[in-house]
């Protein structure tokens, strides 16, 4: 039997926000979260009873994140004061938005595998079900993505690396 929609929000709200933050950064994640649950509320009565609700929501969130990202590229972000000099490592202390940028630059499958696994806490099997492909491929994509992230994220250095 399907749950009242409020239960769906209560159960999956955190996961969806994590996915949106991973795909967009903290700033724009709220918009994608709202759009995701609005679209889900509209479509919920038609969702088959056997569907995996979390996977369904994550799929919607991915789509909405892309929409928000496209809109954001057209709208320059208003700021109170302009930074004095450009920085290549983001703004320190703003919820690690610089990290999200690096996650964002990963190849599609790696980015999604990382997001779903480390943020949404989904198993590699569940990720494979969403992305298509084998469980091994999903596991590999997450591992490769993490490796790339460690190599390129300015603050991240492999353990024991010589400075």
């Amino acid at each position: 039997m399907k749950q009242p929609f409020e239960s769906v929000v209560a159960q999956h709200s955190v996961t969806v926000l994590r996915v949106c933050r991973a795909l967009l950064g903290v700033q724009d994640a709220d918009d994608a979260w709202s759009e995701t649950f609005l679209a889900a509320l509209r479509a919920y009565p038609d969702l088959p009873e056997t569907a995996n609700v979390e996977a369904w929501l994550v799929t919607i969130a991915r789509r909405k994140a892309i929409d928000v990202q496209r809109a954001a590229r057209r709208d320059p972000l208003p700021v109170e004061t302009l930074p004095e000099a450009p920085t290549s490592i983001g703004i320190p202390g703003t919820d690690d938005t610089d990290l999200w940028e690096y996650v964002d630059r990963l190849p599609g499958k790696q980015r999604q595998a990382i997001t779903f696994h480390y943020l949404a806490g989904m198993s590699h099997a569940e990720i494979a079900a969403i992305l298509g492909g084998t469980v091994d491929a999903a596991r590999r994509a997450a591992a490769d993505g993490l490796k790339t992230l460690r190599k390129h994220y300015p603050g991240a250095h492999p353990k024991g690396a010589v400075q």
Binding site: M1, E6, D96, Y118, H157, K159
Partner: protein, 204 residues
């Protein structure tokens, strides 16, 4: 230092999300979903002298008042099944109902002036529930008298069932229906609640 930063990547990815953020997002969803006409059933819970009450409304009006002993989760599941899955905790739509109930429990209100959605009841039960508000504040009727009131004097048991299945207790005053000998009969909120409501109305 580098080791710490290394783990920072994953720590940031799984940074905790505080309840305030979730509350703010939920409030925004309530407004936007309401604006798009997507909230088929809005609900909230309020405190009352009879414990927590669940209030639920469709765009037509108040559809459900439920005592805690009815199990609010089950009441919501039932609404999902019978009315719509598009149920959201959205207290705003229940503001009037909550205020009138407050006034009633404060003895400042004798008649409820709320739009009601009676679509959970059908047939004879609906007929009885429509007539119950004719029993005035502080008065009582027997099950038989109510059967006569709705023009079916033999349907005493069916009146009992109609009262027992009243989806809008307190607001639709099934607590004012007693056995012919003056004993309480049953009540969806429990006999203590029925006694409390009758005493509240007598004392006013």
């Amino acid at each position: 230092m580098s080791d710490v930063r290394n783990d920072d990547a994953l720590t940031a990815l799984s940074a905790p999300i505080d309840p305030e953020t979730l509350a703010r997002l939920h409030a925004r969803l309530e407004i936007e979903a309401q604006a798009e006409g997507l909230v088929d059933v809005a609900y909230t819970t309020v405190d009352s002298p009879l414990g927590k009450l669940l209030l639920a409304a469709t765009p037509k009006g108040l559809i459900r008042v439920a005592y805690a002993r009815e199990d609010h989760d089950r009441v919501l599941e039932n609404l999902a099944e019978k009315v719509s899955l598009r149920i959201l905790r959205a207290p705003k739509r229940l503001d009037d109902a909550a205020r009138e109930l407050d006034e009633y429990f404060d003895r400042r209100r004798k008649v409820f002036d709320l739009a009601l959605d009676l679509s959970l009841s059908r047939g004879f039960r609906l007929l009885v529930q429509k007539h119950l508000p004719e029993i005035g504040y502080g008065q009582t009727r027997s099950y038989r008298e109510v059967a006569e009131l709705v023009g079916n004097p033999n349907a005493v048991r069916a009146v009992g069932t109609a009262c027992a299945t009243n989806p809008l207790p307190v607001v639709v005053p099934c607590h004012r229906v007693l056995r012919a000998d003056g004993s309480l009969g049953g009540y969806v909120g429990g006999l203590e609640a029925k006694t409390a409501l009758l005493e509240l109305e007598v004392a006013a």
